[in-house]
């Protein structure tokens, strides 16, 4: 109960912030919340379960495109579209996970990289269904129970998505399942000897985190009221990986720290170096791996220890 109160309190505070911000900063805030959400689920896959995949934004895209296509091209009501979209993500994730999680180490990364690129090709060539390279635009979120969700009120939806994702992952993490994931990451052979079904654990972790990315994608579809291919490409998949590594892979706090840091960095840097902030991301990525593998959160731990 105490945990539930803490989650609710956090949701309340994060939602309240939305009503204090101007429309521009509300938009920035929404994107930040979405990046944190994605970083949390990606961290569970990469940092906790040790699987390196570049398909997280693919599932984000499948969720976003699915909900838009189902509502505005097939005319389904919103709740049905959400259920069908989530089911689609989980199904595609399972179909991808069952064969590909057998791949060791970076080979999973390359297979999912191919999947991600294939998805972009399909989006670009999808004709009127996907809107081709221009994507889909000019649609609006239907009223939910006669209630129009726009402006800061839609930001509350994103806060709920973030809190829901975080709570779900935290529960999984502090259970036998989270430990099994970490065991698979640290030493698969020993994990199997302890009774962990390595293949099943990997598939579940992949499918759950991918479905969470899909859910986030459905929410994203109504943030800009447009979906187009470049958002879901390799660039953002790399950035997500960088966020988790720079923040500190394997820890929720690390994922949050990395997402906030790399998301806000360009705002600070753009007066200095224009749009070349990606170069800084690359340097930070290399520096984190070589100099500080525990990431920002490791630096924070160290500082706290020194002060104490």
């Amino acid at each position: 109960m105490k945990a539930a109160a803490r989650w609710a309190g956090t949701a309340l505070v994060l939602s309240a912030v939305a009503f204090l911000l101007s429309p521009y900063y509300n938009d920035v805030y929404r994107k930040l919340l979405l990046w944190i959400t994605l970083a949390l689920s990606y961290n569970f896959l990469f940092g906790v379960c040790g699987q390196i995949a570049f398909s997280h934004f693919t599932f984000y895209g499948i969720g976003a495109y699915a909900v838009v296509i189902l509502i505005f091209q097939l005319g389904l009501p919103l709740p049905v579209a959400i259920v069908a979209g989530t089911a689609l993500c989980a199904l595609v994730a399972l179909a991808a996970a069952i064969p590909s999680t057998r791949l060791e180490g970076f080979y999973l990364g390359l297979a999912t990289l191919a999947l991600a690129q294939l998805f972009i090709v399909v989006l670009n060539e999808g004709g009127t269904l996907t809107g081709g390279t221009g994507g889909l635009a000019n649609y609006r979120l239907p009223k939910v129970f006669g209630f129009e969700l726009s402006g800061p009120r839609y930001t509350v939806v994103i806060v709920l998505l973030l809190i829901g994702t975080f709570a779900l992952l935290a529960r999984l993490d502090h259970s036998w399942f989270g430990r099994a994931c970490r065991a698979v990451r640290d030493n698969p052979e020993a994990a199997a000897a302890m009774g962990v079904n390595v293949a099943r654990t990997k598939v579940i972790a992949f499918a759950v985190t991918s479905a969470l990315a899909g859910a986030a994608g459905m929410v994203y579809a109504f943030v800009d009221n447009t979906v187009n291919p470049p958002i879901f490409g390799l660039e953002n998949a790399f950035l997500l990986l960088f966020m988790v590594i720079v923040g500190g892979a394997g820890r929720h706090a690390g994922a949050v720290a990395g997402a906030v840091f790399l998301f806000l960095l360009p705002f600070v840097l753009s007066p200095l170096i224009g749009h070349h902030h990606v170069l800084v991301f690359g340097v930070l990525m290399v520096a984190a791996i070589v100099l500080q593998p525990r990431g920002l959160i490791g630096i924070y731990d160290e500082l706290r220890r020194r002060i104490a």
């Binding site: 590909s100 057998r102 390359l110 690129q117 294939l118 090709v121 690359g282 290399v286 593998p293």
Partner: protein, 294 residues
């Protein structure tokens, strides 16, 4: 038929480029186990190097290529020093340098985008622009040049591994790092050399391919994917597999564009589809690593 033979020459040239990139991966993977996804950026650096050598410094072609290859050796050495050596010395898992190299990929690409505008830059042809007919085969000078250069590189690499002591050292490291270290092979030196050689080969791929596709700061990742696909199709263990895989991939791409009744855009998906299928169904590739006795 004439149409097909024309297509065959250009496909073979693209295949050789993919093969060179695959070889760059292979040179590093064999002794170290590291998948270096930044090879595509090395090719990009090679292409920009060729542009600078010809258009800015105005060196003759051969001197320009030699200068670029020297610079690439330095780039490979530097990459290894920054993103690999500290991790290997610390005993970090093999995934750590792979991820650090992804960071280097972005560093290379963004450095170039900082120095050059996002326009394509011309890379010189070896023998100018012209058409050569060899019996029934016809193609551009550059296509034949690419094929010839690649064959020389592959033959030299093959001879290096099969016929020289240094090559055997690489082999020994590929088979068993600990045993090789006990035999007195300097692992750090082999790693450095493999990165230098990989960078030179990838840079060469960029130099020769750049003439057709121009130097562009975003050219690296597609080449990296095509090269890795070639490697996986041909078989990760063998030099000749890299060439075979590159040729097969290029022919699959070009035949799809030319003859398959699907929108041309879908042809871009061919390497991705091949990569996925081979990784999932036949991860050892067409030519599996040779069985070696004890």
């Amino acid at each position: 038929m004439r149409d097909f033979l024309e297509l065959a020459v250009s496909a073979a040239a693209s295949g050789c480029v993919y093969g060179l990139v695959a070889l760059a991966y292979l040179l590093i993977m064999r002794p170290t186990g590291i998948v270096n996804f930044a090879v595509g950026e090395w090719a990009m650096l090679g292409a920009f190097g060729a542009y600078v050598a010809s258009s800015v410094v105005q060196l003759p072609y051969a001197a320009g290529v030699a200068a670029v290859l020297l610079a690439m050796v330095a780039a490979g050495w530097l990459t290894e020093r920054i993103a690999v050596r500290p991790l290997v010395e610390r005993g970090a898992p093999v995934l750590a340098p792979i991820l650090a190299l992804l960071g280097m990929l972005v560093v290379f690409r963004e450095s170039i985008s900082l120095m050059f505008s996002p326009d394509p830059y011309p890379v010189p042809y070896a023998f100018g622009f012209g058409r050569l007919e060899l019996g029934p085969l016809a193609g551009s000078y550059q296509s034949f040049f690419i094929i010839a250069v690649s064959l020389v590189v592959f033959a030299a690499t093959w001879l290096f591994f099969e016929r020289t002591l240094a090559g055997k050292c690489f082999e020994a490291v590929a088979l068993n790092r600990r045993a090789a270290a006990l035999m007195g092979i300097n692992l750090a030196r082999v790693t450095t050399l493999s990165f230098a050689a990989g960078a030179a080969v990838a840079g060469l791929a960029g130099v020769v391919a750049g003439a057709n596709i121009s130097a562009h700061y975003l050219m690296g990742v597609p080449l990296a994917i095509q090269g890795f696909t070639a490697l996986v199709v041909g078989g990760v263990g063998r030099v000749e597999g890299a060439l075979l895989g590159g040729l097969l991939l290029a022919f699959a791409e070009q035949l799809t564009i030319r003859y398959a009744p699907i929108p041309a855009g879908y042809a871009q998906g061919v390497p991705f589809l091949l990569l996925m299928l081979f990784l999932l169904l036949r991860p050892t590739g067409l030519l599996s690593a040779r069985e070696r006795s004890g």
